[in-house]
């Protein structure tokens, strides 16, 4: 595990080496505020919970997580430093995990900085903080899944822009699979089993369950499995790259 932390620390420092990281965090916090207080009718609802806040997170992460993951491998491939990295005595899985953890910590930091929203709702009312905590946890898990997908795609790309766009599209598909719009389209004619399967493949179904405070092990496991699967694929993509 030691090399994993070594890699993760280096990556995390790389994020904060440029102003981009700070800009990103400001945008993240600002957008989540705008969404919640203006678009989410936080005050008009007169309810002491953060449902509108977390309701926007799948969309927020959809755009911002790929922006975090896009540089993970594409940048190194572009500059050639991937050769340096891969020739150090570090196993591919250690590098993959280290980079992913760094990106995840970065998003976790951005999420943590939305705490004023949480303070606001506690100041105004008496929310169920257990539910809020679960929703934060769910949001982090979902962001992790987006990041794992993004890391894998980044490893296959030389250009960060291509990595970003591709990741958004793939993540959008995963998100959409659980969206009522899609599910309703199937619900009319397809057997309920199929609808359930499609829904269960989507991020939204699992995230909504967790964000309501229902911390079902299956939802957590789902996200962890998606993360594991894409990190595994990431290592395979790297190994295929060794051929040329």
């Amino acid at each position: 595990m030691r090399p994993v932390w070594t890699i993760a620390r280096r990556e995390l420092r790389a994020y904060f080496a440029t102003p981009v990281a700070y800009v990103f965090i400001v945008i993240f916090v600002a957008l989540s505020g705008v969404f919640t207080f203006y678009l989410g009718n936080f005050f008009e609802r007169e309810q002491a919970d953060l449902t509108p806040f977390f309701g926007f997170h799948p969309w927020l992460h959809l755009v911002l997580a790929p922006a975090v993951s896009m540089r993970l491998w594409a940048e190194e491939r572009q500059s050639g430093s991937v050769e340096l990295l891969m020739c150090l005595p570090i196993a591919a899985w250690q590098a993959v995990l280290g980079k992913f953890l760094a990106a995840w910590c970065f998003i976790a930091a951005a999420l943590a900085l939305t705490f004023p929203t949480w303070i606001t709702v506690n100041y105004l009312g008496d929310p169920d903080n257990g539910v809020i905590l679960a929703a934060y946890f769910g949001s982090l898990l979902m962001a992790g899944a987006y990041l794992a997908i993004g890391a894998c795609i980044s490893a296959a790309c030389r250009s960060q822009v291509v990595a970003f766009v591709t990741t958004v599209v793939v993540c959008f598909a995963f998100l959409l699979a659980g969206f009522p719009l899609v599910l309703d389209a199937f619900a009319g004619w397809a057997p309920q089993v199929l609808v359930d399967v499609i829904g269960s493949l989507g991020f939204l179904t699992h995230f909504n369950a967790i964000s309501k405070g229902v911390l079902d092990a299956r939802d957590v496991l789902y996200f962890l499995l998606v993360i594991a699967a894409f990190l595994y694929a990431n290592a395979i993509v790297l190994d295929l790259g060794r051929g040329n």
Binding site: P3, R10, R13, A14, A17, V82, C87, L88
Partner: protein, 240 residues
């Protein structure tokens, strides 16, 4: 020791490396020579396990690169072609990271970083971001990274490219001064360098070894005793 056994690498129809075999013993300083595109970098990349060979195998220090990759990688230091680095780091942070990866601990760690920084004269730029360094300094940071853990095997792809004459001299001294039980493989286009530091020269052309001998013996093949004439006639197939 390094043993490469009929290494080949095809890129589609291009045969970048076409059946290269050699064995290098401790104490040898080998110069890998050849015209542009001969396959030197490709050979090195297969030796360090960065590229998977189309066929053939490599063994370093008794570890097969295909199966015992990590064990093999602990035994060598490698400077990739062009010395790619992480631009946002400072040489200090970079060497610190490499020391972590190489598992250098305790007092020895700081001492070694200090020693290598002094050896490559990195102190004036030690806290400057690598992306703002001149090409020669970047090359030196790359070299520092390769020798930090004092490996028994060193593979350096064009280590003196972009260095000023003084630094070229320093790096040659450095290579020459490495204890006699090490293996050093350098690829270079500078023939004087080969004559100055190498005990053996392997000339590659179009993916094949066309000569493998001591620089002195190679030079003796021309009437004037000049290595560049021999190199030209071997790699172009023309006499002088």
């Amino acid at each position: 020791m390094i043993r490469a056994d009929s290494l080949s690498k095809n890129y589609g129809a291009i045969k970048a490396v076409d059946g290269i075999s050699f064995a290098i013993e401790p104490g040898e300083v080998v110069g890998l020579l050849g015209p542009n595109g001969a396959g030197k970098t490709t050979t090195m990349r297969m030796c360090v396990g960065y590229l998977a060979p189309t066929s053939g195998s490599v063994e370093i220090h008794g570890f097969d690169l295909a199966t015992r990759t990590q064990a093999a990688r602990k035994t060598f230091g490698y400077l990739p072609e062009g010395a790619p680095l992480w631009g946002e780091m400072t040489p200090r942070a970079f060497l610190d990271f490499i020391a972590d990866v190489r598992e250098l601990r305790g007092a020895q760690r700081e001492a070694r970083i200090e020693e290598v920084a002094a050896l490559l004269q990195l102190h004036p730029v030690f806290d400057q971001r690598i992306e703002t360094l001149s090409k020669g300094f970047r090359r030196r940071v790359g070299l520092a990274q390769a020798i930090l853990h004092d490996p028994p095997v060193l593979l350096l792809d064009e280590p003196t490219d972009g260095l000023d004459p003084n630094q070229k001299h320093e790096v040659r001294e450095l290579i020459r001064g490495m204890s006699s039980d090490k293996i050093v493989v350098i690829s270079t286009h500078i023939l004087e360098e080969v004559e100055a530091v190498c005990s053996r020269a392997i000339i590659i052309a179009a993916g094949r070894i066309v000569a493998d001998d001591s620089p002195a013996a190679l030079a003796a093949r021309s009437e004037a005793g000049r290595l560049d004439e021999v190199f030209r006639s071997i790699t172009t197939g023309r006499k002088r």
